[in-house]
Symmetry: C2
Subunit: 287 residues, 2 copies
Amino acid sequence: MPGSDRIEQMLDRAVKRARGSGAPPLLASAIEYAVFPGGHRIRPNLCLAVAAACGDALPQSADAVAAAIELLHCASLVHDDLPCFDDADMRRGKASVHAKFGEPIAVLTGDALIVLAFDTLAREVAPAQLASLIGIVAAGVGAPRGIVAGQAWECEAAVPLADYQQAKTGALFVCATMAGAAAAGADPEPWRVLGAKIGEAYQVADDLRDVLCTAEELGKPIGQDAARTRPNAAAQLGLSGAKARLEHLVATAAASIPECPGRAKLCAAIEAQTRQIFPRQLAQAAA
Amino acid sequence: MPGSDRIEQMLDRAVKRARGSGAPPLLASAIEYAVFPGGHRIRPNLCLAVAAACGDALPQSADAVAAAIELLHCASLVHDDLPCFDDADMRRGKASVHAKFGEPIAVLTGDALIVLAFDTLAREVAPAQLASLIGIVAAGVGAPRGIVAGQAWECEAAVPLADYQQAKTGALFVCATMAGAAAAGADPEPWRVLGAKIGEAYQVADDLRDVLCTAEELGKPIGQDAARTRPNAAAQLGLSGAKARLEHLVATAAASIPECPGRAKLCAAIEAQTRQIFPRQLAQAAA
């Protein structure tokens, strides 16, 4: 079964559980709405690609941790869109959860998705791997250095840029590569750099999109970095500088891949997947 | 070591981890502030009391799940106090987290505490018990029937009262008794009724306090149920009716305790602990 189908199946099973008997109807609808239809599912696909490169000895564990990472990503989008943060009305081309269901349900949907992610791990992951995978996932999401911490840096007067970006974007990519390796029984530590570099590349691509795309293309508001005086690589390096940085990061990411049975295939997949996140305008500018 | 010291030690270890190197300072302070100093720690004490009654074969697992339940309770208080829910400025006799640190940090503090709870389980619980304990905890907190679902019922036009109260208050007490048993290697299912009845008693006592106490005594705003047209047992049954209901629930709870090595001692502890939550005015009225 292709990785994308495996991810959707596992997400579907988790969401059905959360929507089970006794669930308050609005919360149940909002949980489904926050997860389906998804975006590119970049993090869980990366997780499964690494698991495959490492031999994918326990596919159910890999599917579970990939789905858990996506549930946590969805939770972070729902909370980041809240009025007290980005106050974004659109997400993935439709009304954001708080715009559609109200702020209270949006807060609770994020909370429920976080719990659902860990519940999914407990139900689906092989017992011998469970503690290690939860540790990797919690590090990617919580304090002191996960995506929740990354968002919290936006509340500080003085922000160390590297810490902010590594936590806000990098942490969940690092989580994806390390968890993919661990789910397949490999040592996760050598896979940290790959996740970090892809996370950096994704951040630069996101910065470029914030500058280059229309809100319609992006499915969410544009110009948010300038409006919120957040650092933006395209603004700092210029368009061609940011593009060169992006190419460099993708090459560094590919070069960092540890020796493993599926190394060549994974290299190609990373290059292809990363192209997906390049803004269309950049490809045209390069042509 | 007394149960209360065991709980504080485990909470302290968890909070120190979340405040570790690289943490954004405001988030780190808010996490500490949300957990210390605590309230009565009723749920984790109940969890440890049940574990002790069942023989407490694995005290570290019991401590971890008791602390995880308290972290999740703290997370729910932080989020319930947000402007979009109760908009409460006081909690445990001091400024609520959002009043002190702002709304963005309050949202993120709740998120970080949820993640920290599961991370604590993964680090501290014996591997053979981990999946089962996470399942019990997730059921008490998430959708469809945990405390997040209970809060979400307040967003619905039509609310089935029993579902609402069981989810909003009962679920985490059920979680405490079942997890305490499971942590000690006992079958958790027979311990469900005890948690449910104590949860109901706690709800009635809370309703009475909302009517009888001053905000200063309570450490949080009073009259919230009437202000928000939430159901309140004291308003529905009258003062003496609510008191009789409370006595009946405590007796039913004690009678439900399964056969176990420490049954008599647990009975006495439950009666004593439950007295603690009785409003002072009620004890005087009865005297």
